[in-house]
């Protein structure tokens, strides 16, 4: 049963990582425009990649 001492922390850390990733995506406003995000990808090919900007957070 000592294997539990490794497996449980590993499982929890993986889970926490996923939770953290979700909270980050929520914070960076990725769920604010679900409709736009779904459509935007279809138009990306014609324009040069946007420079990385972190001022997308409108709120």
């Amino acid at each position: 049963m000592t294997v539990l001492l490794f497996l449980i922390p590993i499982a929890l850390i993986l889970g926490l990582a996923a939770l953290g990733a979700f909270l980050w995506s929520l914070k960076s406003g990725q769920y604010e425009d679900m409709e736009g995000a779904a459509n935007r990808i279809l138009f990306d090919d014609d324009e040069p990649p946007l420079p990385k900007k972190d001022d997308d957070k409108t709120d």
Binding site: A18, F22, D33, E35, L42, F43, T58, D59
Partner: protein, 795 residues
């Protein structure tokens, strides 16, 4: 009418009228220009990719742009970057988003242009020294979109923040509930397979490690609400919830420390999780309604042209107007303040104010009111009242006082919770006292039993019953173009027993239709329509509507407030008001009229009526069949109201009512114990809409009326009213079923809990199954779309 093939405009998709100013492939010169701009920028791919949305306004550039005060709303940061928040009207599809963003980004100095397609809002950041806000806005408006600036701080940042907080709490609770449940399942399985005491205790400690911080974080919405209620010396459903969660968590920690067998970490955290789902759904349903209301607020930012004493003009916000000042109103603009016309002649569309579909003529010395639309000629107006003193503000005030009365309505779920909370407290306390004092158990055992009672009785299902149905119902209505603005609207609609309609724009189409085409000779029609072609007056438009092959006459002169004239070899031809055309006959009828006067011929009369909506009579009779009373209240003249009432099949009608009288009438009905549904669109209906038990507006209604009403429906038909009613009745039934289901569940499990038979395993199973049953029952509303009446009866 002859069907002649006509091509559609390459830009906006409208039929191209013959002799259009935009040539053979465009409906107007504005569309032609927009097409060329898009071509010139190399963005012609737009036309291939877009799909026009029939529910959105046409993509037709306005000839008379209404000006907005962009500068006031522009924020400039220290490093010279200007930021402007704009509402975009006329977005058809994702291609429009792409087009607008590309057009803006190609401008020199623009750093950031991004549209949120869900909320239809645009954030624009640019370098103020290189390009001005007006230029940027113009580059978009000339393509046919409309832009309105708004102040982002006015748009409930607070509620958005709260919703995000709720989402975070939900995610954390979900994560913790899932993990704790894994350990609980191991413990339960180990129970029958001989798991060692120490292993079990290790599992309990791990559960505590996950559950306790998660509860501390994600149950805060319940704690704060419970504390607020207790401070006000009241109790709400959050009090027993908080009690159950805190007691269960701390008692489980205590049991873990003394290596006890039963812990309730899983129940405590999944209780929080399920309840948070309900809360989140609830706030989503409200949020959707909220953003609809917010988009209306942006329209306050219109600018006016102020005429200063030294004769110079200045553009500024309407708030700068003071009584005695003069301002200019171009044709096509809304009048910003109440006042008296100093110079100019025009027709003013006061439909929003008084429900009249035919514009009034105005000349020097006539009074004009804020919120009305100036149609044909420029006017100079002297301000007589501003802001709070205008007729518009008075209506808004009347509406707000009417709204206060309605705010007292308590949602069904809250009424149930009010009765239920004390019962939960008494049961839990009784279980504790009974087992400890009479049953002879140790206080720890007694407390464990009372915690089990709290967990079992906790209103997971109750908290989910209403929001789940509301979200499903709201989504279903939205698909049919019906927007529910208030969460409790359906609940109130389901209990209604009388429908009150407004006439103009609600029961009728709100636009005059030409009705006596059969009585007039073809030559006269040809002459009149060819003259009317160039005019934007509603009656001229009604003349030319649905007619093909009109060759517009040349050198037409429009005399604002009077009509149109054309010089021919024989003399002057006039199309317009009766007295202007020199006619002495008098017809006292409902209808609006135009006269055609020619030298050496009898004048010809063209008659227009505002016809009732195509399905008005059917809708009214369907309502009557369902046992509703139907009343028509209108501010229009009684002769017009009587005609509309007759054709719609309404016997109870009242005419010549002022906004306050409409409210009084509704209050009289309410005193008789009737629950009133008000359906209206005009500004004069707004107070009545706010005063009614529940209210509906077509999407063509005045902004203020849309704000005042609970449900907004799109399209040219009244059938959405029936659909909303049907969904309201069904969701009412489902909510009541959900309540019944959770009470039955409580009846079965509470005796078990009271008798001390409930272990953590049973508690978790009971809790999740009751929640799942309620959710799946709510989802039935989404199924059986359309008129599944036969199914309805089985429920």
């Amino acid at each position: 009418m002859t069907e002649v093939h006509r091509s559609t405009c390459l830009h906006c998709g409208e039929l191209v009228p013959p002799g259009s100013s935009g040539g053979a492939t465009f409906c107007c010169s504005g569309c032609h220009a927009a097409y060329e701009i898009i071509q010139g920028m190399g963005l012609e791919g737009y036309y291939k990719r877009r799909s026009l949305d029939p529910d959105q306004p046409l993509l037709k550039p306005d000839e008379q742009e209404s000006r907005f005060d962009f500068e006031t709303y522009t924020e400039v940061s220290k490093d010279g970057i200007s930021t402007l928040h704009l509402m975009v009207e006329g977005l058809q599809c994702a291609a429009c988003v792409w087009l607008i963003e590309m057009v803006l980004k190609q401008q020199d100095g623009v750093h950031h242009a991004r549209i949120n397609m869900t909320t239809r809002r645009l954030v624009l950041k640019w370098d103020n020294t290189k390009v001005s806000a007006d230029e940027l806005a113009h580059s978009v408006t000339q393509l046919g979109y409309r832009l309105a600036p708004y102040d982002p701080t006015l748009i409930s940042a607070e509620t958005t923040k709260r919703e995000k907080q709720l989402m975070r709490a939900l995610v954390v609770a979900g994560f913790a509930a899932g993990n704790v449940m894994l350990f609980s399942v191991s413990v339960w399985a180990g129970h029958s397979q001989g798991m060692g005491e120490y292993t079990r205790n290790f599992m309990h400690w791990v559960s505590a490690l996950i559950a306790l911080p998660a509860i501390a974080y994600s149950a805060r919405p319940f704690f704060t609400s419970a504390i607020k209620a207790l401070k006000a010396k009241r109790t709400n459903m959050d009090v027993p919830i908080s009690l159950a969660v805190i007691l269960a968590a701390s008692m489980s920690l205590f049991e873990t420390m003394r290596m006890g067998e039963h812990v309730y970490f899983d129940s405590a955290i999944s209780l929080v999780f399920f309840l948070l789902i309900g809360r989140y759904l609830d706030s989503r349903a409200r949020g959707r309604a909220r953003s609809a209301g917010e988009n209306l607020m942006g329209l306050r930012a219109r600018a006016v042209t102020i005429l200063l004493e030294d004769g110079t003009r200045e553009i500024g916000p309407p708030s700068r107007l003071k009584p005695g000042m003069q301002f200019l109103v171009a044709a096509g603009e809304r009048i910003a303040a109440d006042g008296i016309v100093l110079s100019g002649e025009s027709d003013v569309d006061a439909q929003l104010l008084n429900g009249e579909s035919v514009p009034e003529r105005c000349a020097p010395k006539s009074k004009v009111f804020a919120g009305t639309l100036n149609l044909s000629g420029p006017l100079t107006v002297e301000v007589s009242a501003v802001g709070e003193d205008t007729l518009l503000s008075e209506i808004v005030r009347l509406m707000e006082s009417a709204e206060e009365a309605r705010a007292k309505y308590v949602a069904l779920a809250d009424r149930v919770a009010r009765l239920y909370a004390p019962v939960v407290h008494i049961l839990a306390f009784g279980a504790f006292a009974g087992w400890w004092l009479i049953g002879g158990q140790s206080w720890q055992e007694a407390l464990m039993i009372s915690i089990a009672v709290l967990i079992i009785t906790c209103p997971c299902a109750l908290g989910l019953a209403v929001p789940a149905v509301q979200v499903v119902a709201g989504g279903r209505l939205l698909q049919r173009g019906i927007l529910m603005k208030e969460g409790t609207a359906l609940e109130r609609l389901a209990t209604a027993d009388i429908f009150v309609f407004d006439k103009t724009g609600t029961l009728t189409q709100g636009q005059p239709q030409w009705t006596n085409a059969d009585e007039i000779s073809e030559a006269d029609i040809e002459l009149a329509t060819s003259m009317a072609m160039t005019s934007k007056h509603p009656l001229s438009r009604a003349l030319t509507q649905n007619r093909d092959n009109i060759v517009p006459a040349k050198s037409i002169v429009e005399v604002p407030g009077s009509g149109l004239k054309l010089m021919t070899a024989k003399g002057e031809v006039r199309l317009g008001r009766r007295d202007w055309c020199g006619v002495n006959q008098h017809h006292d009828t409902v209808e609006a009229e135009l006269w055609l006067a020619r030298p050496e011929a009898e004048p010809v009369r063209f008659v227009f009526t505002d016809q009732i909506r195509a399905d008005a009579a059917d809708t009214i009779s369907a309502l009557k069949q369902q046992g509703f009373q139907v009343v028509l209240l209108s501010g229009d003249r009684s002769i017009a109201v009587e005609a509309a009432a007759k054709s719609a099949g309404i016997s109870d009608w009242h005419a010549d009512l002022k906004p306050a009288e409409k409210v009084a009438h509704l209050e009289k009905l309410a005193r008789q114990g009737l629950k009133v549904v008000m359906v209206g669109d005009g500004l004069n209906d707004a107070p009545a809409l706010a005063a009614a038990h529940v209210s509906l507006s077509p999407s063509s209604a005045a902004d203020v009326s849309q704000t005042a009403s609970d449900i907004i429906f799109q399209g040219k038909k009244l059938a959405p009213i029936l659909e909303a009613l049907r969904v309201a009745k069904r969701s009412d039934r489902l909510i009541k079923q959900n309540f019944a289901l959770s009470f039955i569940y409580n009846l079965l499990t509470v005796p078990l809990a009271l008798s001390g038979l409930v272990t953590p395993l049973i508690a978790s199973i009971a809790m999740s199954t009751s929640s799942l049953v309620v959710i799946s029952n709510s989802l039935r509303l989404a199924k059986g779309a359309g008129a599944s009446n036969s199914k309805d009866k089985q429920i």
